[in-house]
């Protein structure tokens, strides 16, 4: 899987200062904005929080996957963060979250390679071992390696 199409090391942050779900999403959105993956910070945030209002994106194992399919996304991308603090995310297993993957998806992207890569990333998160490794990863490179199955 060629993750480099949807993620660059600039959008991975392993020492996030955020202490709430809102701060996490904002901090990760800033990373996407800095690399031009989204066109409007405020409007993209609205779309992500709308998705959050439909149902939890805390999938258990300390991981959350907020996502926005939004017209304010320039290029389908991922931002990945790990927090220093436990974050309350109303997760499926009632446990706090430390590892967050923000999916930013363009509205036009339907049958693209990008979405297929996102689907593979999501599949990986169905594996408890992968989740445990992500929580312990020491560098952005290590995270990319975990998703690439190396």
């Amino acid at each position: 899987m060629d993750l480099s199409k949807v993620i660059r090391s600039e959008t991975i942050k392993l020492d996030m200062e955020a202490t709430t779900k809102e701060e996490v999403v904002e901090e990760l959105t800033d990373l996407l904005f800095q690399v031009n993956a989204i066109s409007s910070r405020e409007n993209f945030l609205k779309d992500v929080f709308y998705r959050e209002s439909i149902g939890t994106t805390g999938i258990g194992n300390g991981i959350a996957i907020p996502h926005g399919k939004s017209k304010f996304v320039n290029k389908t991308s991922l931002a990945i963060g790990r927090t220093k603090a436990d974050i309350d995310w109303k997760s499926l297993d009632d446990q706090p979250v430390r590892f967050i993957i923000l999916f930013a998806v363009t509205e036009e992207d339907k049958n693209s390679t990008h979405i297929k890569i996102l689907a593979k990333v999501a599949s990986n998160l169905g594996d408890d071992d992968v989740c445990a490794k992500l929580l312990k990863a020491k560098s952005p490179e290590e995270i990319l390696d975990i998703f690439s199955g190396r």
């Binding site: 149902g55 996102l118 593979k120 599949s123 998160l125």
Partner: protein
């Protein structure tokens, strides 16, 4: 036992694929055969075959939206659950089905 199913979530990006992976892993660990079709933004993948469905003891529809092709399951036992339940407790779901069906 033989399980077939469909996974589909609201945005068709993430939960669909996590739910599929969780169900597949749980079923295999418990020694069952399983085939799950995904209906996501990229369309249908790993489509169920007529033979898969014919031989299945149970159909699990893990979905937050209406899925396509439900008519394929006419006469089958179907369990409808949201994707969240499939992600949260895949093993208990499969164990419960097994107990209910006496297989």
């Amino acid at each position: 036992m033989k399980i077939v199913g469909i996974a589909a979530c609201t945005s068709g990006i993430a939960h669909t694929y996590i739910a599929k992976e969780k169900l597949m892993k749980a079923a295999k660990e418990l020694g069952h055969e399983i085939h799950i079709e995904t209906q996501g933004t990229i369309g249908t993948e790993d489509e169920l075959t007529d033979l898969d469905i014919k031989n299945a003891d149970i159909v699990i529809v893990a979905a937050d939206i209406n899925v396509g092709g439900k008519e394929r399951f006419a006469g089958k036992k179907i369990l409808n659950i949201p994707t969240n339940i499939a992600i949260k407790s895949p093993k208990s779901i499969i164990k419960k089905i097994q107990a209910d069906l006496g297989l």
